[in-house]
Amino acid sequence: MTDDYESRVSDLEARRKKNLAMGGADKVARQREKGKLTVRERIDLLFDAGTFIELGLLAQNRDGSDTAPADGVVTGHGDIDGRQVWVIAYDFTVMAGSMGAVGEQFKAARVRELALRYRKPIVWLLDSAGARIQEASGSTFAGTGWLFADQVYMSGVIPQVAAMLGPCAAGTAYIPGLADFVPMVKNTSSMALGGARLVKAATGEEVSDHDMGGSQVHCYESGVGDNEVESDEECIATVRRFLSYLPSSNAGTPPFAETGDPADRAVEGLDKIVPVNPRAAYDVRKVIKAVFDRDSWFEVKPTWARNIVVGFARAGGHSVGVVANQPMQKGGALDSDAADKAARFIRMCDAFNVPLVYLMDVPGFLVGSQVEKEGIIRHGAKMLYATSEATVPKVTVIMRKAYGAGYYVMCGKGYQPDTIVAWPFAEISVMGPEGAVNIIFNKQVEASDNPEATRAEMVAKIRESINPYLAAGWAMIDDVIDPAETRRVIVRGLEQARDKKVDRPWRKHGNIPV
């Protein structure tokens, strides 16, 4: 063997080439058989062409052998729509993407350190069996676990996305647990605190990773996953889309995007979407699509707690977070999961300077013994907390019903909206007229010769008093508007509050009723 300048350089090239080949042809073929892309294909899709800068390509297994190219995780940064974003991408073709000492303590840790130093978002591409048990050596476990603490320090400072593209077992499942956005690929992704084998050993339960923690569980039942997607390609496109609504950090403002939709456009077709009869349901997503910039609606958690709809849109090109009641589901009544979903979304928007628009049509919180057992008071309080706490510009549109505490959590007057308006058929009341009659006029109804007629009369009387003109007459709301004016009112309301600055008493932090 010659040992000269050229051979040293070609040795470097060989080392690079080996690690770029990931776990080798067989493992890569198996990855593709499962319908998954390789880690490097995923990164190519994630970043603008040619912008990826890799750190730690030459990393190896802790034992110094060449058995774990890049130690099973690809790290670095690239651009998404021209903005720097950092990535930690597990490579399932290398020791099942398990987290080794080098990959975790040096590679991933470096990404977390630099992303936070530069105030840029982090995206995890998760496809990992979890901790590399082969490397576990007794009580040196005591020195692990920094990653979650790091995630907490980053929370609300830089956006964190955990894209679920494969398994994510055991402790690593807290990565999505702490992330701001968690898309999940149908069928191939899963997450669970204990993987199937561990569960069998610990409790005797026999269940597959997919049955226990696939998107059908987390995007529909648990609410840990946000958006279920069909493929790796769709997942990565969803990550890019999500980040397009957020600034790189809490020190910035969300990027403006010219949508070509005029800010003062009259909203057409609402008369065909929203029934004036307050008992009738409709799909509030149609209202959102009609009001905000064309093709700008990006729903978050669309399949969980569907009685509230949250997501991002653009109003005159500016990014906004939309919180809307959904009469199609549970009549739009709020329950524990809905409050939880809304509270978390509202806090994310507030942390990252995304203004909030509340579209209100709420018959109140669900009542009864079932919801009390779930702790609806504690969960509902999260939404009160989040809405009160939020200091970004807030615009409230009372479309139809604004009953009870539902009115409060949807940013009623007491929650300092910058603009609050109502549609002409809005009903603002401590409760619906039917319920009010039962309490206030119960005796009159019972004493009547024709109780039903008396009840109907009383309901009509109360209904009259809860129209928005009494509240507007007291100037408790800023205006009553033609629904067609909604878009213009939102855009101008946000513009009015653009320089908003709110100072509240110093505190270490509040105590949200988690």
Binding site: K330, G331, L366, G368, G432, E434
Partner: protein, 70 residues
């Protein structure tokens, strides 16, 4: 077989299907009344109605099976 369950406590206000009927996904099967709202219960998928397990006026619990599709 697919069981269509009540998402919340309420009254069965209107039954809009019957055993043997063919339904498409998203077709209204019945309407519940709860929280002073008419809440449509729709077919999660296309299929034939095998059973309607509730009557108009009946109070149903969360999770109670309302309709069975085959």
């Amino acid at each position: 077989m697919t069981e269509v369950k009540a998402e919340l406590v309420g009254n069965v206000w209107k039954v809009k299907t019957e055993p043997g009927a063919q339904v498409a996904e998203e077709d209204e099967l019945l309407i519940l009344e709860s929280m002073k709202m008419e809440i449509p219960v729709t077919a999660p998928r296309a299929g034939k109605v095998r059973e309607v397990r509730v009557k108009e006026g009946e109070v149903v619990k969360e999770g109670q099976v309302l309709v069975v599709l085959e």
